[in-house]
């Protein structure tokens, strides 16, 4: 029972981290049909910005609880600035181009943003342990867990709830769904599609930044951390179905739980399991488990 509870919590914690990052990736793809490789950089910038300011504020003697505000602020600022500049400065001019070209452009952006991180923050890792230290630890299932890690599950649930509410209960969500369903029809019905694109990209970037900012207190924030996450996020999005928030959630849970199970019971296959799930899904359901239905145009 102890092992079961531990695997469940480990799985959910890892799933939560995957979901927060991949939700932004899948929203951008769903609305804009852009496979955004630069999403890993949003994550990295979120982590760096949060770690940098948490460290600075701590040095100034500010209370450690400020760290939580900094995390939220870092995600919003990074998403707003990077999202706006990239969408308005580059992607806007590429929408009529082939999707593969846009992927290459975002890959180039990813490399540029990684190098800017090196220039801005240097090569030394940053530590922002204060928020994690503030929440202390608790014994669950016979082992000690840091409470901060557990709050990640709550944050992911809030993100999922927020996305669901936005898409299903607001006028903005209706407009988004209309653009996802048929862009041309949306334009003809008077929807300001360029504005929808800009806001969607910024929203996705904020989620990417939030993933990085929230995970920063638990890791050594070092150059290159965006690379690892983008690979895992693609696996999640492929499993869940590209463009589907529910798919990203289910994909994250499947991968997170199976990975935790492998680590506990058969560590030799831990690396293999994530991509094995992806391969199986691609064989039997190439569009992913929860890919949104596509209209057939006549």
């Amino acid at each position: 029972m102890e092992t079961f509870l531990t695997i469940l919590l480990d799985g959910l914690q890892f799933s939560s981290y995957l979901f927060i990052v991949s939700a932004g990736l899948t929203i951008i793809f769903g609305v804009m049909k852009i496979l955004n490789v630069a999403h890993g950089s949003f994550y990295a910038w979120g982590a760096y910005t949060a770690a940098f300011f948490i460290g600075k504020f701590s040095d100034m003697g500010m209370p450690d609880a400020m760290g939580f505000l900094i995390i939220i602020a870092a995600a919003i600022v990074v998403g707003l600035i990077l999202g706006f500049v990239i969408e308005q400065g580059i992607l806007k001019y590429m929408y009529h181009r082939d999707e593969v070209l846009i992927v290459l452009a975002t890959f180039g952006l990813f490399l540029v943003l990684e190098d800017i991180i090196l220039i801005a923050f240097g090569t030394d890792p940053y530590f922002a342990y204060q928020p994690m230290a503030l929440l202390d630890s608790v014994e669950l299932g016979g082992i000690i867990r840091d409470v901060y890690g557990l709050t990640l599950i709550a944050v992911a649930a809030l993100v999922a709830l927020g996305c669901w509410y936005l898409l299903n209960k607001t006028k903005w969500g209706t407009l988004l769904k209309a653009v996802i369903y048929d862009r041309e029809m949306g334009i003809s019905m008077g929807i300001n599609v360029p504005l929808v694109y800009t806001l969607t990209f910024i929203g996705g970037a904020i989620l990417g930044g939030l993933g990085g900012a929230y995970i920063a207190p638990t890791i050594s924030v070092a150059p290159g951390l965006g690379t690892e996450v983008i690979v895992l996020s693609f696996a999640v999005v492929v499993v869940g179905g590209m463009g589907s928030i529910a798919g990203a959630a289910i994909g994250s849970i499947i991968i997170g739980i199976l990975r935790a199970l492998a680590v506990h019971e058969l560590p030799q296959v831990e690396l293999f399991v994530v991509f094995a799930v992806m391969a199986v899904v691609l064989v039997f359901r190439p569009e992913g488990l929860f890919a949104p239905a596509k209209p057939r145009k006549i």
């Binding site: 030394d124 016979g142 890690g149 030799q268």
Partner: protein, 430 residues
């Protein structure tokens, strides 16, 4: 007749002058040494940058003739060396292409460096193919010289077997009642070799202690170890072995510390020395800490002139004490100087290899014997200690430090590491 003698004398003088002139035209005033190290990625801050700092500091001192005796002659065989810093990031495929570029297009005189075992493993055959004098500074897999004989490739520090045999011996002395052990190591040559050697040694010297059947091998640079920490917390093993390094090492310490892992289990960190100066109070007390040899925090107080020069110059230049990688790269540059001094600045790659092969030299913190792998692989002592935060001075220190001689922790010449350990470490002189 007199005239004939004069003509001969003039002719002889002319030939001598031509010979001398030709000699000075061949001798180089300047050489270029490529120094690859991680300048980007998670390994840069804790490993790559200190390593590069150590290499540059020693090369600058050699160029200026400011190293303590017996290395106080100016230059590398008299030549001034330019250090060309190369980023080791990007994986083995990129490094092979970069190495070919350095040798074939840019024509560097020597290559000194490399941290990753994966890179060294991939580059050793390329260096042999290109016949390029190359010194591996830090990478640790024993396979480099055990899988094939080398002519142009050298390594000036001990390999993973020394780290892990020494760790096992230290564990036996400090924790004789150890019942079980597990490990978390990166899933590539370095991590796999490290665990294998530690596990095999403990099986030999502590046969009553059981290895866990759930040892962890996460991907290198994974960064998050929540599930692994849970699995190890639930494991009955009372000791955790890790050869984590760089950002992975620091992330694991953070996450494990927050979850009380190191209060429940003994942590053995074979490369933990790099974290000692960087993490300060966040490094838990009571960890068994190694530095991949007699380097860094383990030897800070050794009072030889060479070591005190190294420690004080590094502290003055970079504002922190030198960690293991700084020492290891400095040591490799020193070995290059010794080779050039002996063979001459215009020496061929073969001559440089001949000059370094099988020698024993005094380095900054230890004596280096190039006695394995046909004289290409160094043997040095190796040591471990226990971490403790010194509140008075506000820094980490190590207590209970013990060093094991190289002849005790590395196999004799011609014997494979694994066979040596499995065979009961015959010939070990402890």
């Amino acid at each position: 007749m007199k005239h004939n003698y004069l003509a001969r004398a003039v002719g002889l003088a002319a030939i001598s002058a031509m010979t001398l002139g030709a000699g000075s035209a061949l001798a180089k005033d300047a050489i270029t040494i490529a120094v690859p190290s991680f300048l980007t990625g998670g390994a840069a801050g804790p490993f790559g940058i200190p390593a590069m700092n150590g290499a540059k500091m020693v090369a600058d001192a050699i160029n200026a003739g400011k190293l303590p005796a017996p290395y106080d002659s100016k230059g590398f065989g008299g030549a001034t060396a330019t250090i060309e810093a190369i980023d080791e990031g990007g994986g083995a495929t990129k490094q092979v292409a970069e190495y070919r570029n350095l040798v074939e297009k840019r024509g560097v005189d020597a290559v000194v460096g490399y941290i990753s075992s994966g890179n060294c493993q991939a580059l050793a055959p390329i260096a042999e193919e290109l016949k390029q004098f190359t010194i591996f500074a830090t990478c640790g897999t024993p396979r480099i010289f055990e899988e094939a004989p080398r002519k142009y490739v050298f390594r000036t520090m001990g390999h993973a077997t020394a780290d892990n045999v020494a760790a096992a011996m230290y564990v036996k002395e400090k924790y004789p009642d150890l019942k079980g052990y597990t490990g978390i190591n990166q899933n590539y040559a370095w991590g796999q070799d490290s665990w294998r050697d530690f596990d095999l040694t403990l099986k030999q010297i502590m046969p009553n202690s059981m290895a866990s059947d759930k040892t962890q091998f996460p991907k290198i640079f994974a960064g998050q170890y929540g599930s692994e920490i849970s699995a190890m917390s639930l494991d009955k093993a009372d000791l955790i072995h890790t050869s984590f390094w760089g950002g992975d090492l620091e992330a694991f310490i953070f996450q494990g510390n927050a979850r009380g892992l190191f209060k429940k289990k003994i942590g053995v960190f074979t490369v933990g020395g790099t974290a000692a100066y960087r993490l300060g109070k966040k490094l838990p007390d009571g960890l068994v800490l190694g530095a991949r040899g007699p380097y860094g925090i383990l030897v800070r107080d050794r009072d030889s002139a060479l070591n005190q020069w190294f420690v004080n110059t590094y502290k003055n230049l970079y504002g922190t004490y030198p960690s293991g990688p700084a020492y290891q790269y400095g040591q490799a540059i020193l070995a290059a100087k010794i080779a050039y001094d002996k063979a001459g600045s215009d020496a061929s790659d073969e001559a440089l290899g001949d000059a370094l092969r099988g020698i024993t030299f005094e380095s900054f913190s230890t004596t280096v014997e190039m006695s394995l792998g046909g004289g290409h692989q160094a043997v040095t002592e190796n040591g471990y200690g226990i971490t403790k935060y010194d509140d008075e001075n506000g820094e980490n220190v190590v207590t209970d430090v013990k060093f094991y001689p190289g002849s005790c922790i590395m196999p004799p010449e011609g014997v494979n590491s694994v066979d040596w350990i499995k065979g009961g470490m015959k010939g070990a002189k402890c």
